[in-house]
C-alpha cells in the first residue's frame, strides 16, 4: 500500500532524513520509533503532503506521489496529531470540525455520517454540539480520529496519537484504533517515542536515529530480543527495565 524508497529531506544545511526506505502492506501497520530530532515525524509529514521539499520515491497503492497532490490523495490519506487541543479549532464545535472534510470533498449525506462517526469512536451524540474545551483529552482525541475518518480514508498517519493522554485513556484510544483497523481495513503508519505502544499496535517497526532508519524488524523479533542495532537494544532495555521494576 505504501512504499517509501530513499526518502531524503533537508532543512537548509541540515539533512533531517537521510535515505529512509520502508513498505507497508494494505491493512497493516508500520511503526516508527526514535527520539526527538531523529526525523520520525518529518518522514510522516512528507508522506502526508505537509512538506513538499523531499527527494526520493514514495508510492501509495502503486501510484508515485508528486509534490503537488490531487484532492483524491488528501481524501485517502489522513493524519492524526499528538495534541488534540492544538489540532482542533477552539471556536468550532465538534459538528463543524466533522462537517468540514465532508464539504471539502463534496461528500453527501453529512447528517447521518456525523452521527455514525460519533458512534464509531464511542462518543455520545450529545458531544456533537460541544466545543473542544468542553471535552476531556481522550474525547478530543476521539474527535480528531473521527474527523480523520470522515472522508473514508485508506491510510491513517498517526503522529504520537496517545502521548498527551493518561495511561487509562491511552488504552482506550489504542483499542479504538485497533478496532477501526479491522472494521475498515485501514493502513496505519504510527510514529511514537514509546516502544511498547508501537509494539502493541504494529506488527513491524523501524527505529530511527539521527535521520537514518537504523533498523527494521518485526515486533516478534523485538519482543524476543533478536536485535541487530545498538540503539534498538538501548530503547528496548529502557522500556523493559521499567516493566520489571
Amino acid at each position: 500500500m505504501i512504499e517509501v524508497a530513499d526518502l531524503r529531506i533537508r532543512f537548509g544545511e541540515v539533512e533531517a532524513v537521510k535515505g529512509v526506505s520502508f513498505t507497508v502492506a494494505a491493512g497493516s501497520s508500520f511503526g516508527i520509533v526514535g527520539e526527538s530530532g531523529s526525523g520520525k515525524s518529518t518522514v510522516l509529514r512528507a508522506l502526508s503532503g505537509l512538506n513538499h521539499d523531499w527527494t526520493g520515491q514514495m508510492r501509495i497503492a502503486g501510484v508515485p506521489l508528486t509534490r503537488v497532490r490531487g484532492r483524491d490523495f488528501y481524501r485517502r490519506v489522513q493524519m492524526v496529531f499528538q495534541d488534540p487541543y492544538g489540532s482542533l479549532h477552539p471556536r468550532h464545535t465538534v459538528d463543524r470540525a466533522l462537517s468540514e472534510p465532508l464539504i471539502v470533498h463534496g461528500i453527501p449525506d453529512g447528517e447521518a455520517r456525523i452521527r455514525r462517526a460519533l458512534t464509531e469512536v464511542a462518543l455520545p451524540q450529545t458531544a456533537r454540539f460541544r466545543y473542544p474545551h468542553q471535552l476531556s483529552g481522550g474525547q478530543r482525541q476521539r474527535v480528531a480520529i473521527a474527523r480523520a475518518l470522515m472522508a473514508e480514508p485508506d491510510i491513517l498517519l498517526l503522529d504520537e496519537p496517545t502521548s498527551a493522554l493518561d495511561v487509562s485513556v491511552q488504552a482506550e484510544v489504542l483499542n479504538l484504533l485497533a478496532d477501526l483497523q479491522t472494521r475498515r481495513n485501514l493502513t496505519y503508519v504510527m510514529v511514537s517515542h514509546n516502544l511498547a505502544v508501537i509494539a502493541h499496535l504494529c506488527p513491524a517497526l523501524g527505529v530511527m536515529q539521527g535521520g537514518e532508519m537504523v533498523e527494521q524488524l518485526t515486533t516478534e523479533d523485538l519482543r524476543a530480543g533478536r536485535i541487530a542495532h545498538a540503539h534498538t537494544a538501548e530503547l528496548r532495555a529502557l522500556s523493559t527495565e521499567l516493566e520489571e521494576a
Binding site: 527520539e35 526527538s36 483529552g137 493518561d166 495511561v167 487509562s168 485513556v169 491511552q170 488504552a171 482506550e172 489504542l174 483499542n175 485497533a178 517515542h193 514509546n194 516502544l195 511498547a196 505502544v197 509494539a199 502493541h200 515486533t219 523485538l222 519482543r223 538501548e234 530503547l235 528496548r236 529502557l238 522500556s239 523493559t240 527495565e241 521499567l242 516493566e243 520489571e244 521494576a245
Partner: protein
C-alpha cells in the same frame, strides 16, 4: 520528618459551591524518595504545591497539620515562606522550555539563585554555577553556562533547572513530572542523576508522575492518588502486589514489550473509589 501533612483539603469555588480537588490527604516524608502517582486531575501537583504555598489565588486550603520541618505552612508569613521556597525546598517543573528565563544565560540564572541564597560576589556566584553544572554532569560546564536556554536541548535544560534548584543546598526537592517532556534515554539519565544527588546529599525527594512503573523504580515509597484522595500506599518494591483496583487497573492498561496482549484492558471506574 521534614514534611507532615495531615488531612489536607484543597477546594476551588465553582458555580455549584466549592469543589474539592484534594480531599483528606495525609502523608509524611523524611529523607527518602516518595513518589506520588495519579492521572490528570488527581490532585498530585496541588498537594505538592500546597507545601510551598504556590496554589492559585482562589484555592481554599485547610488541613489539620501542614508543616515543613516544624514550620506551619498554613500560618507562616510570606517572609517565612520565602525562606522555605527555593532555599530549603526546591521545585523542578516539567518543561525546562517554560521554566527557564529565555533572555538570561544558563549560568547567569544559576548564579542568580546562588547569590540570592548564599550571598557573595558575582564572580563567586558564577564559579558556583559552573561547579553546579559540573555536578549535574554537564561535560563542558563553562560553555553551557554561557548558553541561552534556546541553545540547550531538553535534557540539558532540565539539568540546568536541577542545578539551579541545588544552588541553595535544599533539604527537599519536589519534582513535578521532571522527565515527561524528555526522551526515554535522557529520562533515565536525569532520574539516575536525581537519585544520585538525593542520596549523596541526604535530601528528601517528592517525585510526582503519571508513570507508575517509573516511579516505583526510582522511589522508596509510592502513593497512588485518584480524584483527590490517596487510594493506596505501598513500598516501591511491592508494586506487583498492589491491591487497590485502581492501581491494578493502571498497571494492566499499559502496553508492555514482555507480555503482549491482543487488547488492552480498559479501566472500569468504580464510583465507590470516590468515597
Amino acid at each position: 520528618m521534614i514534611v507532615e501533612i495531615d488531612n489536607l483539603n484543597i477546594a476551588f469555588p465553582s458555580a455549584t459551591g466549592p469543589s474539592l480537588a484534594v480531599r483528606g490527604v495525609s502523608l509524611q516524608l523524611g529523607a527518602e524518595k516518595l513518589g506520588i502517582v495519579g492521572e490528570s486531575g488527581s490532585g498530585k501537583s496541588l498537594t505538592a504545591r500546597a507545601l510551598l504555598r504556590l496554589l492559585p489565588g482562589n484555592a481554599r486550603v485547610s488541613a489539620d497539620r501542614l508543616t515543613f520541618d516544624g514550620i506551619d505552612i498554613l500560618t507562616a508569613s510570606e517572609r517565612d515562606m520565602r525562606a522555605i521556597r527555593g532555599k530549603r525546598a526546591g521545585l523542578i517543573l516539567q518543561d525546562p522550555k517554560y521554566s527557564l528565563n529565555p533572555v538570561m544565560t544558563a549560568g547567569a540564572q544559576i548564579a542568580e539563585a546562588w547569590r540570592a541564597h548564599k550571598k557573595g560576589s558575582r564572580k563567586e556566584a558564577m564559579q558556583g554555577a559552573i561547579d553546579l553544572l559540573d555536578q549535574v554532569r554537564i561535560r563542558d560546564p563553562a560553555r553551557v553556562a554561557a548558553c541561552y536556554p534556546h541553545e540547550l536541548s531538553g535534557g540539558m535544560g532540565q539539568r540546568v533547572m536541577i542545578a539551579m534548584m541545588l544552588a541553595p543546598d535544599p533539604e527537599m526537592l519536589i519534582a513535578d513530572e521532571p522527565t515527561s517532556a524528555l526522551d526515554a534515554t535522557v529520562q533515565a539519565e536525569i532520574l539516575r542523576l536525581m537519585e544520585d544527588l538525593v542520596s549523596r546529599r541526604g535530601m528528601a525527594l517528592m517525585l510526582i508522575s503519571h508513570d507508575l512503573p517509573l516511579v516505583s523504580h526510582f522511589c522508596d515509597q509510592v502513593v497512588v492518588m485518584y480524584a483527590g484522595r490517596i487510594v493506596e500506599r505501598l513500598a516501591a518494591g511491592d508494586l506487583a502486589h498492589a491491591t487497590h483496583p485502581y492501581t491494578r487497573g493502571l498497571l494492566s492498561c499499559l502496553p508492555t514489550l514482555s507480555a503482549p496482549k491482543p487488547r488492552l484492558s480498559v479501566m472500569r471506574r468504580d464510583p465507590a473509589w470516590l468515597t
